[in-house]
């Protein structure tokens, strides 16, 4: 076992602020949907807008971060151990079998995680962001009283936006639960908070890479 610096500073900031924003947007969004009553309709609408702009800014930064650091490659799904991972979650872990995949700094995500997060980034997030923007600018009048968007019925936009919200909430429930399936129930959350996780670095090449990363981090 080795203490490895696995989640870097921006990644943790991005992860937790995104999580907070998503829950806040869900609260305010479902108030606009008249499912819950918390802030009052007017404030809920206002907060939802402010939070949505914060999330958009965060997403812009995180996209930049993913591409400049090459971290986006983490989400390329590999199918070699896909079924083994499913078997582990459904059968293996109850029998005390070991994880079929090994978490490393270069390969943080197991195949199931990779495809789920890819789905989040390519389906759920774009769905909610695009429909959110359409919703926000729907029938907006500018200084010249021009109607910008009105050809797509608001009903359709709202349907897709709500669908996105349900999908993301469902993702969040399962995601939070799955964090407890690490080596100990809290090890994954601790790692996302501190950046460090005790990992079994069996692969030499990866071990070397992480030590370079660690070295790089130490230099800072």
């Amino acid at each position: 076992m080795q203490r490895v610096y696995i989640y870097r500073r921006f990644e943790r900031f991005w992860h937790w602020s995104q999580a907070m924003l998503i829950f806040f947007l869900a609260l305010t969004g479902f108030e606009v949907h008249d499912s819950i009553h918390l802030f009052g309709y007017e404030k809920a609408v206002h907060y939802h807008r402010v939070a949505s702009w914060m999330l958009l800014t965060l997403i812009a930064f995180s996209i930049f971060w993913h591409f400049t650091t090459g971290e986006w490659k983490q989400y390329i799904p590999s199918f070699s151990k896909f079924s083994a991972q499913i078997r582990y979650y459904t059968i293996g872990m109850f029998k005390g079998e070991p994880h079929p995949t090994h978490k490393t700094a270069r390969n943080k995500l197991n195949p199931l995680q990779a495809i789920t997060y890819l789905g989040f980034k390519l389906v759920m997030a774009p769905l909610i962001v695009v429909t959110g923007l359409l919703y926000m600018f729907y029938r907006t009048i500018d200084a010249n009283q021009m109607v910008i968007i009105s050809d797509i019925p608001l009903e359709v936009i709202a349907f897709l936006h709500t669908l996105g919200a349900y999908l993301i909430l469902m993702f969040a429930i399962i995601h939070v639960y799955m964090t407890t399936t690490g080596s100990t129930p809290l090890s994954n959350i601790k790692a996302m908070l501190t950046g460090y996780e005790d990992l079994d670095e069996s692969n030499e090449r990866q071990s070397k890479d992480t030590s370079i990363l660690n070295q790089h981090e130490d230099e800072k």
């Binding site: 500073r9 943790r12 900031f13 937790w16 602020s17 907070m20 606009v32 949907h33 008249d34 009052g40 309709y41 007017e42 404030k43 609408v45 206002h46 907060y47 807008r49 402010v50 939070a51 914060m54 979650y89 872990m93 109850f94 029998k95 005390g96 029938r139 907006t140 009048i141 009283q145 109607v147 009105s150 019925p153 608001l154 009903e155 709202a158 349907f159 709500t162 669908l163 919200a165 349900y166 999908l167 909430l169 469902m170 429930i173 399962i174 639960y177 407890t180 908070l193 501190t194 950046g195 460090y196």
Partner: protein, 524 residues
């Protein structure tokens, strides 16, 4: 620790920024202040009419006053005689009908029905003298009544059933010398009392507005900016801006709040977005008839009952007439929540001679829909009632109601519907089969006055609410908070419950297998 502290610091900063964004102090609304400044300056007359020799004489007839007016204002009668106040009709393009003359002279209303055959009484609200029948000479400038609008002595009143002539008690010389810019008293003389009493017709125009507080109307409040009717209803060459769809049809020369307040009057962008499809009145006039009651229903079919052979009336505990032998039964209401309709500024009317096509019959129909870009949601007073019609010809009947004497077929004298129908229809030149019945009718009055203080305006969840919202009956558009896709909501709940149930089952399974393996380990 550094890795923990840094994100906490950043997150704290973000939270503080968010709090700062959420709590912005209210800014002064400069355009609103400018308007207040503009209307705080009250009109001062530039001349004193009592000093003019032309007015220093005893007037034997009101026409002599008009002649005196025209001796100086020698072109004004042309403007007045081009107005709908004089002609009782406008020429306009009506959707589905083409170019029509529409006005008091040929539409039916849901109150006293119509002016035809009853001109001598109805012309109390005509800006002229001597309209006794339908042969009125609309080209005689001597009959223009300048005083009814321009009297500032507040002594001028028109006589009852006097064909538009002033009451005999009026001192014409005093009135003539006191003329000036029309005040609320002048406009109100007709527009407050239409339909036979205060606030009967409009619901948002009544004599309480002559001295009200801001709770009743922010614009006309005596303790507020104290504006007069003509501050908004300006008149270019005696063509007064603004119209009401009880008698008007087309989207022209309309007066709207936006004329002063602009289309984006709020400091809140979200509220300003509403103005594309919601009229100002909708949120800012939460209720009408705030002081005195307005008539909500009028059933002519109940008219004609006599007590000991004589007409009678009944009054409710608030002093509102609920029954009159000559008119039928009424329903009244105060602090009424308006109904809401999509409306694009065009209206269709039942015009004398039209065949009845729908039950209940809409005597006027506000046009518009959610998909029409010109339409906005407006508050409307809906007035219910029933009226006499001919079931064989399917025409509404214009009855003869008024006469000075008995035996002249007038319903208000003889209480004989058949005679009144025959005389009225003969007069308007329409057939009458000899058979009559009563038909349910509706009339739609957009509500424009009695603007509440902004704290009393509607709030979001008066409309954006699942059930019993103000706009619950309006369809054809998606209203956030009110509307939802039932299937998606069910599916969404299923997804969330499924996810929760799934992880709970998984967690229990892990927990119990862990317990089991511990036991096994112990046993080993």
């Amino acid at each position: 620790m550094k890795q923990v502290i840094a994100p906490i610091v950043v997150i704290t900063i973000v939270v503080i920024m968010a709090v700062h964004l959420f709590h912005r102090p209210e800014l002064p609304n400069l355009s609103e202040l400018q308007l207040k400044q503009k209307f705080a300056v009250k009109h001062v007359p530039s001349v004193d009419h009592s000093q003019f020799d032309a007015l220093k004489k005893d007037f034997a007839t009101p026409q002599e006053v008009t002649e005196a007016c025209l001796s100086c204002h020698n072109q004004r009668h042309i403007e007045v005689m081009a107005s709908s106040h004089w002609n009782w009709e406008r020429v306009s393009y009506v959707e589905g009908r083409g170019i029509e003359r529409v006005g008091k002279s040929n539409v039916i209303n849901n109150f006293c029905i119509g002016s035809n055959a009853n001109e001598q009484a109805c012309s109390k609200c005509h800006i002229g003298f001597g309209m006794t029948n339908n042969l009125y000479d609309f080209n005689n400038a001597r009959n223009v009544d300048c005083m009814v609008c321009h009297d500032k002595s507040e002594e001028y009143i028109k006589g009852a059933s006097a064909a538009g002539y002033p009451d005999r008690s009026v001192n014409l010389q005093k009135v003539a010398q006191s003329v000036g810019k029309p005040g609320n008293y002048n406009c109100g003389a007709c527009h407050f009392y239409g339909g036979g009493g205060n606030n009967v017709k409009h619901g948002d125009l009544e004599d309480a507005l002559l001295a009200c507080d801001r709770e009743v109307d922010v614009h006309m409040a005596a303790n507020g900016i104290n504006m007069s009717c003509v501050d908004c209803h300006t008149a270019d060459r005696h063509q007064i801006k603004g119209k009401l769809y009880s008698v008007s049809s087309s989207h022209e020369n309309r007066l709207s709040c936006e004329d002063c307040h602009t289309g984006t009057p709020h400091l809140d962008r979200m509220l300003n977005l509403h103005t594309a499809s919601v009229a100002c009145q909708t949120c800012h006039i939460p209720t009408y008839a705030k002081v005195n009651a307005t008539k909500m229903a009028w059933r002519w079919s109940d008219a004609g009952h006599l007590m000991d052979g004589k007409p009678y009336h009944e009054v409710d505990s608030l002093g509102n007439e609920v029954y009159l032998s000559i008119k039928g039964s009424f329903e009244w209401a105060t602090n009424v929540q308006p109904d809401y309709f999509w409306f694009n500024g065009h209206a269709r009317h039942y015009i004398l001679g039209d065949t009845i096509g729908s039950f209940p019959l809409k005597v006027n129909d506000l046009l518009g829909s959610a998909t029409d870009r010109e339409s906005k949601i407006y508050p409307v007073k809906v007035h219910q009632g029933d009226q006499i019609y001919d079931p064989n010809t399917m025409l509404l009947i214009q009855p003869k109601l008024w006469s000075a004497t008995k035996g002249d077929s007038a319903f208000w004298m003889d209480f004989n519907w058949h005679e009144a129908a025959m005389a009225g229809m003969k007069r308007v030149g329409l057939p009458y089969s000899g058979e009559y019945d009563f038909i349910e009718t509706e009339m739609f009055w957009p509500v424009n006055h009695m603007v509440a203080p902004k704290e009393k305006a509607l709030a979001c969840n008066d409309c954006h609410v699942r059930e019993n919202g103000r706009l619950a009956s309006l369809t054809g558009f998606y209203l956030p908070g009110r509307d939802r896709h039932a299937g998606l909501n069910f599916l969404g709940k299923l997804m969330l419950i499924g996810a929760l149930a799934g992880v709970l089952i998984h967690a229990f399974a892990r927990f119990f297998t862990a317990l089991k393996s511990e036991e096994i380990n112990k046993n080993l």
